[in-house]
Structure formats: structure tokens, C-alpha cells
Symmetry: C2
Subunit: 357 residues, 2 copies
């Protein structure tokens, strides 16, 4: 990494300037949409929130009252019935996992572009249905790490061979879910809404998908262990999980995730010639940190951190405005869904599972 | 961790002052013994090197000439024949793994205390023979991490519950073996001398054993993947390895090791209330670093690093002089040997293996 490359670590290498604005309908008004997504779009270069959609008309009205750009406050039923389709160009879907599919189907029917939160859906089958439903419209899965500067720079370093050949990866994401959201009945703990499980599917996905992106390699085989003891986790297998992944060229990834542990996140890549660690890695509210060691010299990198959600919305909108292909598309998301299904199967059986078989 | 506890981070909590000196016979004069072990003993409080033993009389004479305290320079044959037994109280065995047993047998016959390098031997069977042979003399396995201040303080923090209940552990040790020792025929790559393999057995042992020590829990079940591609690793399964371990109370450990990757070492413990990372963790020539995060506050700890080998030799000698039990003893070492055998079996079969069955 030379001085020129260090310059503007947080640069948008994807941003060629674009004309126009993408108008978003925000579907589901939980804290993430209200506190992260809508504020991010309001400060973005290429987006505007013009429609909000909620299970409660009152909540939709309340949020609409907070932002001048919002023209329509809809219930889910009104949205699905096709109200106000002239007022938005794209939807952002932030419902519980198992409710992504109906809103994707509706948005595709209205010929809208779709930014769908990860994981795509609650199961591989529903995720495949989702991809089928959205075949004729632009679909992006909302992996915000793909536009996180530390992750993009890490990918550059790995792909350019600065670490030599990649050998091993470590990653963790853990958080105290019941402290963040003090509700034992929340959807992330209900299999019918969350899907296969909670720790791997909801947050283990971060080190899993980010490693795919940084290594530019997809999982081949997985091994896994899960454990659940706390009563709030009685209906899911994974209060915590450890899972390891074999990638092409004999690269191994060692990952953990827990919804009932202290907040921690990191991603470490060990190559034949050097090592790289991003820590903290995934939470939007923690500062980033990157350490790069090559040939006995360690660089600790600090930079002006960006708003992850603004980067993601602007990237998505920029692609739409310039007719560029979206990354990650539905097929990309399906690889994670199949890998995660394999991880839960591996934990259940104790055996090594080949992904996608 | 309060200020009193921070004071003298590198303190020897095991050192009650002792009278006397333990005289060591150093068996095998590779670079580690010459550059690390003998210099450490020379500056230690409770040890002296009085005898050196080598395959080559010339090499033994040369090393004996470098240090005033060394009275006898023996060949392996002379040592095994019982020469100069009055000149030493204890032996330090630093031969290739598969040659530990004969020197343990001889030292036990001469009624000497034994400090035997890890891993104990090349296989569980030979390690069990070793423990049997040394039943009547003091035997310690040379896990130098047990007297490393960062590791002892980490254990204190975990056992005292500062992190809450432990949940997940990550650890790696990797090094470019062929750059450190540029000989493709070295013993660490020959199964008949090294044992089951090289990356897990020789260096994966560090995160594996250190985690046992820090958690105060022994492995129950393991899963593993190994890969070897480079021609120098043609006779061992593990140019690199990933292995995960289930401990009591549902704690999981995610570990990797490679003899053909950049030098990297770390150990991270995630608990319900906080997290702790030691990085670098294991190499004696790197500075230590510890980061502790509890309740949103992160402490980065620096301290005056100690000579790991001097700490280990002094601890061993102090125990002998005060008749205290040695930690780690042979039974402790056998747990690692059984775990490592299970890890190689798990990698071979792709199945979850219960340790010790």
C-alpha cells in the first residue's frame, strides 16, 4: 500500500458521479430503518425517502412527519395493493427475514428496484423463490460490508497479493441481543420469522460473507458446532456457534457468532507474506481499525469513518442511475443461504457438509 | 482489573523465593537450546547449566566453551551410559518429539527431575510410556505460556469472571517454517520424528493448550480440516489446519495453525460481559500486547516483557527447590496429546471426534 493508495482511504472507488435521484419506499419501520436507513438516505448523494410502509398507520404517519421528503405513509396492505407506486423508484425491505418474499414479489410486480436486507429470507427455498420473483427487476442484497472502506481496501490488498497467497481467516461477530432489544419474544428468536437459527443466520453472516468478498472465493465445505442454553434461545439451535469453512486453494476460515455474548467483531486474514486485521469490523457504531503487517512492518490505519448505510444506499442508487450491475445480486445471496443451511446441517449431524449438495 | 492488580503486570505470583540452585543437563543443542534455553538459565534466579549433551562431541565442546558454568560436554551415548550424573539435578529435553522418550527413561533411571519440551512425544502411546517411565521423578512439560505474564493475567481475568462467562475463543499460530529453518528435510516435516503432523502438533498446540489454561477447561469434542500442497509438506497432513473444540459449558474454541504462512499469533476470548485479546501471543521474540474491553471501556496494556524461557526455568526450579507440585505435569500433557490425536483423526474422517475415545 503506497502513499497514493493510502490517500483517501474512505474513497468511493465505485462512484463515477451520476445524475438523478432514486426515490425509496422504506418497508418496515423498526429502529434500524428509522435510526440508520432513513437518516443515511437523507444525507446521501443519490437517494431520497419518499414513502414509508409499516404495519401501523400511526407509526407510518409519525415517521412521515419527521422528514420533509416523505410524501406517503402506507400500511403494508396499502403497499401490497399498489398505492403510491408513482412516488418511488425502489424499495428497501427491512422486515423480519421470513417476510422478505411477499414484499419482493409486490415490488417486482410494480417494476421497482429492490434493496433487500440480508439474510435474503428464512430458508434456501424461499430465497430461491425470491430470486425468481425478482428476475425482471434490479435486486441487491444489502451486505453493507461491500461498501465499507476497510473491507474494500482489505479486498484490494488480498486480491493484489500484498499478503501473498491467503492461507487462513478468522472472524467473529457477537452481541448481547437481549440487552440491545430487551424482548425475549423478538423475531430473531422465533424460527418461523428468523429461519434456521439466529447467531449464524443473523450475524455469523457478516464474517462469512465478508470473507467471501475479501478472498474472492466461495465456500466449498463446512463443519459446525452450535449451543443454546439460555431460555430465550429455547427455540433456536444457536445461542452461539463455531463454524469453519474450506475455500478453493485450501484456504480455511474459522468463524464464530453469538447473540448472547459481549459485542465483539473482527476479521483477520493470514497470508503467506503478511497479515491483516480489521477490528472492530462489522458494527456501524464502533470505530474501524485496520492493522497490516508485511515483512515485519506493521501499519495501523485510521481514517475518517463513513456512514455505512449512506455508502450502501448511494452505491445501490448509483448503479441504478448508471445502469451498472448490482453487487451483491440474488445469486450471490443464494450462495450464503446455501452455505448457512449447510452450517446448520453440519452442526446437527456433526459431519462435514459440502455446500449446495 | 484495579490499579493494584495492574501494578507489576509481569509479577511472578508463583515465586516465594527459594534457596538453592538446580543444575541442568541440556539435552540436544539445536538453536533453541543454544540461543534461548541456555542464555535464559544463565540469567535465572534458580538455575545453572552444568552439562550439555549433543549428538556431536565437537558441538558439545563448543557450547561448553561458551559458558563458564558448564562442566561436562557429553555425547548422547555418554549421557545414556550415565556419565556425570553427579553434576546435574535435572534435565531439559529438546530433541525432536520422537526422541523424548529414551532421554526421559534414562533421566528417570538416574533419578533426575525432567523438563520435557512439548509436545510430549510423537504419539499418545509414546507419551503414555513417557509418563509411566517418569512416574517416580518430577516431570514437567515445557508449556512456556503458563509462566508468560500476559497469559497468567488473562487466566486470572477469566477465572475471576471479569469477562462474565466465557463463550468463544479464537487462536492462531503461524510461521514460515522453511524461511526460519531453510531445510526441507528438517525433523518437523518427517512423520517418524515429528509425529502425527506438523502444524497442529508443533504450533497449533500453543493456542490449544493456552486456551485450556486460560479457560480452566479441557476439550470434549473436536472438528478439523487440514491441507498440504507445498512439496516440503508431502509427508505430513497439515501444511495448515483449522480445528474447533467444544469445552464444558458450551464454550467453543476456533483455532488455526500453519507452518507455511506469515508469522501471526493471537488469542481472543469473548465472554458474556467483555472481551480480551493477546496479540502477538506466542512467539518469544515479538512484543506482547493485551486489549481488554469491559462495559464499553477498552484498556490496552503494555508492560516490561520478560524472557519466557527464564520464567519457565525459574518456575520449574522453584517448584523443585520448594517441593511444590509441577504444572503442567505428564497427565496434563497427555490431555493435549489425546486432543491432538483426535484432531488429526477428525481431519482424516471429516467427523466430530470425542477426545479420549
Amino acid at each position: 500500500m503506497n502513499v497514493t493508495e493510502l490517500s483517501r482511504f474512505e474513497r468511493r472507488d465505485w462512484d463515477g458521479d451520476a445524475d438523478g435521484t432514486v426515490r425509496f419506499a422504506m418497508i418496515a419501520l423498526g429502529w434500524w430503518t428509522r435510526e440508520k436507513a432513513i437518516p443515511a438516505v437523507q444525507t446521501s448523494d443519490y437517494g431520497d425517502t419518499t414513502v414509508v410502509v409499516s404495519g401501523s398507520q400511526a407509526k407510518a404517519d409519525e415517521v412521515a412527519g419527521e422528514w420533509d421528503s416523505i410524501e406517503h405513509a402506507l400500511t403494508y396492505e396499502a403497499f401490497l395493493a399498489g398505492e403510491a407506486t408513482d412516488a418511488y423508484d425502489a424499495v428497501y425491505i427491512c422486515t423480519p427475514n421470513a417476510l422478505h418474499l411477499p414484499y419482493v414479489e409486490a415490488a417486482a410486480e410494480f417494476e421497482k428496484a429492490i434493496l433487500c436486507e440480508k439474510p435474503m429470507e428464512a430458508s434456501v427455498e424461499r430465497a430461491e423463490e425470491l430470486v425468481g420473483a425478482a428476475a425482471a427487476v434490479p435486486l441487491m442484497i444489502a451486505y453493507r460490508m461491500h461498501t465499507e472502506p476497510a473491507v474494500r481496501r482489505a479486498r484490494d490488498l488480498v486480491v493484489d497479493g500484498v499478503l501473498g497467497e491467503p492461507v487462513l481467516v478468522h472472524g467473529n461477530m457477537s452481541q448481547p441481543l437481549l440487552e440491545l432489544i430487551p424482548d425475549p419474544d423478538q423475531w430473531r428468536l422465533q424460527p418461523e420469522l428468523v429461519g434456521y437459527g439466529t447467531s449464524v443466520l443473523d450475524i455469523g453472516l457478516y464474517p462469512l460473507n465478508t470473507t467471501r468478498f475479501v478472498l474472492d472465493r466461495d465456500p466449498l465445505r463446512v463443519q459446525a458446532m452450535t449451543h443454546a442454553d439460555h431460555e430465550a434461545f429455547a427455540n433456536v439451535p444457536d445461542e452461539r456457534a463455531a463454524f469453519q469453512v474450506a475455500y478453493p486453494d485450501g484456504v480455511f476460515g474459522s468463524f464464530t457468532a453469538s447473540q448472547h455474548a459481549a459485542q465483539e467483531s473482527h476479521l483477520t486474514v493470514v497470508g503467506t507474506d503478511g497479515t491483516l486485521t480489521i477490528a472492530p469490523a462489522f458494527f456501524p457504531w464502533t470505530p474501524r481499525g485496520m492493522r497490516l503487517t508485511v515483512d515485519g512492518t506493521t501499519a495501523s490505519l485510521d481514517w475518517e469513518q463513513v456512514d455505512q448505510m449512506r455508502e450502501e444506499f448511494d452505491y445501490f442508487a448509483h448503479c441504478l442511475l448508471t445502469d451498472e450491475a448490482l453487487y451483491a445480486d440474488g445469486e450471490h445471496g443464494l450462495v450464503d443461504m446455501r452455505t448457512i443451511e449447510s452450517i446448520y446441517e453440519a452442526a446437527r449431524t456433526g459431519e462435514t457438509v459440502t455446500v449446495g449438495q
